[in-house]
């Protein structure tokens, strides 16, 4: 099988690491060779963060490069725009419809781009969800990332049961139920 490339992008602190671990977990359980690459350290402090997940028969490099991603999962609109060119033509773009102003926007040095999702839809298959609101409705704002993962999972080759099993094995025991419910919310969106 040709190596498949997935990217998760967002703002430091949004939980990209947990999401990538679930992704890595499901690919391992399906018997693929998997490589993941993450960002730690200073970049995690509210900066733009990116995680790469690659799987296939034999994976060499751990990063995904421009024009190579099959699926891009963006936890924030501006980050979707920043990394969209990593997608292949007609790649799948999953966007959490949330706006977090970066410091240059806060200080007035730059403007937050308008109509991001509409513009990206011209070049890519875009699926968006306001996962923040959905998560708040569920009573736990933190699980929005798993809702977004659920939506992305619809466009990947694993069954709902496989996903739920990996979530159970990956998240902290106390949060298994809420994370499973969040995943289903996104999967059935």
């Amino acid at each position: 099988m040709e190596t498949k490339n997935i990217m998760i992008v967002g703002v430091g602190g949004q939980g990209t690491l947990l999401t990538s671990r679930i992704l890595g977990g499901i690919m391992l359980s399906a018997g693929y060779d998997v490589k993941l690459s993450e960002v730690h350290g200073m970049a995690q402090r509210g900066g733009s963060v990116v995680t790469y997940v690659r799987y296939g028969d034999k994976v060499a490099e751990p990063i995904v490069e421009e024009g190579c991603a099959d699926v891009l999962i963006a936890f924030e609109r501006l980050e979707a725009l920043r990394y969209a060119h990593f997608l292949k033509k007609n790649g799948v773009l999953i966007v959490n419809d949330q706006r977090i102003d970066p410091m240059p926007v806060v200080t007035g040095a730059a403007e937050y781009p308008e109509n991001i999702i509409e513009n990206l839809s011209k070049d890519y298959k875009v699926y968006s969800i306001d996962a923040q609101s959905e998560a708040l409705k569920m009573g736990n704002a933190k699980v929005f990332n798993i809702i977004v993962l659920g939506l992305a999972a619809k466009h990947m080759d694993f069954s709902k049961e496989q996903w739920l099993k990996v979530i159970e094995e990956t998240v902290p025991p106390k949060t298994i139920e809420i994370n499973k419910a969040a995943f289903i919310k996104g999967f059935e969106f």
Partner: protein, 572 residues
């Protein structure tokens, strides 16, 4: 398994008994994983020099030992490194040193292989998680066989990537007997002269043996183009040219020169593909071998498969990046540093900065920090300024340094200020942890890496014991107290210390019962609350503000900034 977790696993399997480290991205997770193996004693040392010396002592005592650090940490540890190169080992000793091409979280892009060459210490480099585990085990074998410390060099991309790893059992290595041997273990000129001869011989022997080491291998393929490469760069070569001939080097110092010559003479066009400095390339050229290296590939930053594709095939990715506002890292909502910097900014005080999250005080909107050199440098740079320009010059300056950085090397600089009769105010930003690297304990937190309660060094009394009369403690969130302390202490003609206390907002086990709430009816739309740049606050279209309840932890800084009581702090 994360590369860094694989290194820890490899150390465990190699029978390591002692490990010491100071946290530093991208090496921190090595120790954080080692602590899961109960057979290994592991510690956070106050700095990398101490960590290296702990490992040297353990090796002298006859057990396998290691220390780990980021690339710049090796500068701190280079004093013992250059000596232990001469001394060699009893039990095997490995230094894991993590370089940061692309500067994800560092102040420079130095190449550890150069330090390996300068200190005449062998350097090995793995290219994925499996090799990270296998190579560190091999490093201990090399260390004991050749009587040398060994550096295992990694990079951010290797340490922070995950790949499949096959686990093995731990080897129990019997302790080697300790024998007094001052000719080997005491580096005085007479002894060191003889050891220098040994060190040169050792490197020569290793270079000769390199061809038979399993970590150096030739993968023959198409001989029209060939690559000499190592580490993560090897993966990019395999991605772009799976059929090319490759000499994959695991031993980077000394280079296996006969192996290189044998490989090169079969290859039509030879590329040297190595991140950072042209360490392999310059040595290959010195052998009279034609090759393509840094004229095609940059010295700066991280490599990628696309970069290699571009050089070999002239192909650019079809898609183009959109122009979007940057998103640089920022201080977290509820970060105590933001509050301290707000007080300094209001008083128009310059800060000599240091290494930690608080270096972010250099950029907008705070713009308080003027300098950042290296760990512990804030205090001594302030001192240098005072000696250059006189007492009055530093009255609108302070040094800012975190608690962990203060104990790392800042404490030496403070001693220097006292000794040399300095004027100047040092602000220790005590957030009870090593923040930026992800919350590691240190000598003042009262807990060891292995989770045991321990004596917590009292920073206040440490400063007092140096003879500093004015040491004041304030809450980092109390703007009134901060302002008063900064005004009073910077006015003095002597050394003074302000310890600003409040735990890091991300430190576990804290409860944040309160949350800040805007009162739009009282709001005068002046924007004062927005000035500190808390990400929980956003300006509404009508000029009032919103506060994101999921981000706010009720620190109250915005409330203190508001002169019109238009923000209240309420129970969540």
């Amino acid at each position: 398994m994360l590369g860094n977790a694989a290194i820890a696993r490899g150390a465990y399997e190699a029978g390591v008994k002692v490990s010491a480290a100071y946290p530093g991205t991208p090496s921190t997770e090595i120790s954080e994983n080692l602590v899961n193996y109960k057979e290994i004693y592991c510690e956070w040392s106050p700095n990398e020099k101490v960590a290296c010396e702990v490992a040297i002592g353990a090796s002298m005592a006859g057990v396998r030992s290691m220390c780990s650090m980021k690339h710049v940490g090796l500068n701190v540890a280079s004093d013992p490194l250059y000596s232990v190169s001469y001394i060699g080992v009893n039990g095997g000793m490995v230094l894991v040193v993590a370089d940061d091409p692309g500067l994800y979280s560092s102040q420079n892009e130095q190449d550890t292989r150069m330090i390996g060459r300068a200190s005449m210490v062998p350097v090995i480099e793995p290219s994925d998680s499996q090799e990270a585990k296998d190579y560190i085990k091999y490093a201990f074998e090399l260390s004991e066989k050749y009587d040398t410390p060994v550096i295992m060099r990694t990079t951010t991309r290797l340490g922070h990537s995950q790949g499949l790893v096959t686990l093995e059992e731990r080897q129990e290595i019997p302790d080697k007997p300790y024998e007094k041997n001052i000719q080997k273990n005491v580096m005085m000129p007479g002894m060191a002269k003889k050891r220098h001869v040994f060190v040169e011989e050792r490197l020569k022997k290793m270079a000769e043996d390199g061809a038979s080491m399993p970590i150096n291998r030739i993968e023959w393929g198409d001989k029209k183009i060939g690559f000499i490469t190592s580490g993560i760069a090897y993966q990019y070569v395999k991605e772009v040219c799976p059929d090319a001939s490759v000499l994959k080097l695991g031993l980077l110092n000394p280079l296996p020169k006969t192996m290189i010559a044998d490989f090169a003479k079969e290859i039509e066009t030879l590329y040297i593909f190595e991140e950072l400095e042209p360490v392999i390339e310059e040595q290959v050229r010195a052998m009279g071998i034609k090759c393509i290296g840094k004229e095609a590939f940059t010295i700066q930053g991280e490599y990628s498969a696309n970069m290699l594709r571009k050089v070999l095939k002239g192909s650019e990715p079809e898609t183009k990046a959109a122009e979007v506002p940057a998103r640089p890292p920022i201080l977290c909502p509820g970060c105590p540093h933001r509050s301290v910097y707000t007080a300094l900014k209001n008083l128009k005080i310059h800060a000599a900065g240091d290494i930690g999250c608080y270096t972010l005080g250099a950029v907008a909107p705070l713009n308080v920090v003027d300098t950042a050199v290296c760990m512990g440098s804030s205090i001594s740079t302030l001192h240098g300024m005072e000696k250059a320009k006189g007492k009055d010059y530093v009255k609108n300056w302070v040094a800012v340094i975190g608690d962990s950085t203060f104990l790392h090397t800042g404490v030496n600089s403070l001693m220097n200020m006292v000794y040399n009769k300095a004027t100047g105010t040092v602000m220790i930003l005590d957030n009870s942890t090593t923040g930026m690297t992800g919350h590691q304990d240190h000598a003042a937190t009262g807990k060891t890496l292995m989770g045991e309660p321990t004596y917590a060094i009292d920073i206040y009394n440490l400063c007092k014991s140096m003879g500093i009369e004015h040491v004041v403690e304030v809450s980092s969130f109390d703007q009134v107290a901060l302002t008063k302390a900064i005004k009073e202490e910077t006015a003095r003609d002597e050394v003074s210390v302000i310890i600003c206390q409040a735990p890091c907002a991300l430190l576990k086990g804290q409860k944040f019962p309160n949350v800040c709430k805007p009162l739009p009816e009282k709001c005068k739309k002046c924007g004062a609350c927005l000035k500190p740049g808390c990400p929980a606050l956003t300006k509404n279209a009508d000029g009032t503000v919103s506060i994101d309840v999921t981000m706010c932890n009720g620190c109250g800084l915005c409330k203190q900034m508001c002169k019109f009581d238009a923000i209240e702090c309420v129970e969540r």
